[in-house]
Subunit: 346 residues, 2 copies
Amino acid sequence: MSDQMHRIVLASRPEGAVSAENFRYESAPIPTPGDGEVLVKVHYMSLDPYMRGRMDDAKSYSAPVPVGGAMEGGAVGEVIASNSPLFEPGDFAFGMFGWVTHGCQPAKMMQKLNPSHGPITTALGVLGMPGFTGWHGLNTYGKPKAGETLVVAAATGPVGSMVGQVARLAGLRTVGIAGGAEKCALAVDKFGFDACLDHRAYDNATELRAALGDACPKGIDIYFENVGGKVLEAVIPLMNTFGRIPICGMISWYDAGALGANAATQSLTAPMLWRNILVKFLSVNGFIISNHYDEYPTFLAEIGPKIASGDIAYLEDIAEGLERAPAAFMSMLKGGNMGKQIVKVA
Amino acid sequence: MSDQMHRIVLASRPEGAVSAENFRYESAPIPTPGDGEVLVKVHYMSLDPYMRGRMDDAKSYSAPVPVGGAMEGGAVGEVIASNSPLFEPGDFAFGMFGWVTHGCQPAKMMQKLNPSHGPITTALGVLGMPGFTGWHGLNTYGKPKAGETLVVAAATGPVGSMVGQVARLAGLRTVGIAGGAEKCALAVDKFGFDACLDHRAYDNATELRAALGDACPKGIDIYFENVGGKVLEAVIPLMNTFGRIPICGMISWYDAGALGANAATQSLTAPMLWRNILVKFLSVNGFIISNHYDEYPTFLAEIGPKIASGDIAYLEDIAEGLERAPAAFMSMLKGGNMGKQIVKVA
């Protein structure tokens, strides 16, 4: 085997929208695992919206990717060398290897994959970080109750589709929002949403709000926030008293850079948001799933069998080749993916 | 006794700041209590910031005061006629009688006052709605932990002073914000805040933030929100991860009317707020105390003895005469009161 690996590094920080020039594909020697470390040949890597935040140097929950450093991200692959008793060659593992063909990490930072849980790609989506994010956020902060109404955007994505399905199984009316008629049909047909609105069909938040009002005749009890922007603006006045808003992301605002003073929004002001939280007694909670991996076994135990039984569906969108990761990532940020975006690396 | 009472009604809705023309002092016949009702001669009435919201016709948690209707509010007084076995003449009672010299209500909507709890005015402040608001909001949503840092504005008001004192007794560092040097000294000397900043001494949120940063060397874990505006803008970037923000009001924004698109704020945008909630895993909860009166006995049992023992201090600012209520109210909205604002009606 060659002693060279490939990786994609952050060539420069985006100003506004991400562009191809922000990435660089390069070669490097395959690392040799040190004591307690494991070398993995990556088969699939994950693309997720949070990665957009790591490209900025704004203060956030994680340090930014340094310019010249490999893009971060989760990946799954086969162990090809191990200096740890926890793994042996041939094992499959998940780790935060990044946008790379080969990853080398301490064994204790990796998870061995259980083949009974289905294809290894599921560890990146429905049974991985995004699915876990949806499950945890909905249950912990959303506190779903039968008969209530839930709204979630990116409804066919790996977070939104988990949120919608878990809520439906809990007896809620579920209303999705997605980009385009095809995704909306998928949300209803595959993921069981009671309705799904195409945000592209509405010129502004006021029009989207009117349609949402029709789709949510009893108002909105839970808005699972992953997009911000026009959807948030449409939703806020429809929230019921004692409503809950778990926040795991705000993809529509990521290209506004640090989401500072100039982030574009017309009538959604800070006082308007704050006032709605007050007068409707809303509970708004930001979270990142990496703080909650103590619950991951519970998640796997509950959702794993539902994947196997088909009670929870999932969809993956797989791009071929590490070199295509930047294009797939940029497309995903614009909603170009259909289901969980994955890159087949090997 | 005369068969005439007096009351202050909403003459017109404010456009921007409240003015004297928005009120009218008028006479009316003293009502005769119907079956189950009680007639009370009001001794003291309460003035509270929430009343500003009732003057607008924006959708809120309560219906607005109708134009021509008596201003709403809590008051205490002596029962002078009763058609209920629950009260007899000579009893003292609290009720939502409004800005009136005489109130008539169903007995079950009133509370008999316990003379052992101190002066009847305390039922309007430290042992009434404002004190209960501070206690409930801090404990339920603020979840104070010893060693943490709390910030609250209007620190010498009946909500802020309760919040600060309960937090101090729980072992937190407490930093108040108030208007003017005199209030800041009072916050420290009477209410035991570790520090208090005069928001008038800082031209903008950036300067206030720098001073707050010095006063909160370990960051802010709980921001008890009752003002919004410049203070919120200063505080948000100083919040620690896993911070909590109970919201009981936002007085600085009330005169912006419905707090809509034109509410004045420069760099505090909706995306900036939302992003901070996400990346710091904040928990933000709006509440109104009227939803939580099942906890009122617990509050009285805990705080009542601390008032008696002096462990919790309180301060009242008493204006004389119902006819002075509008001026006292307008002054309070600008921070002119020193402690809980009360009007002595009789």
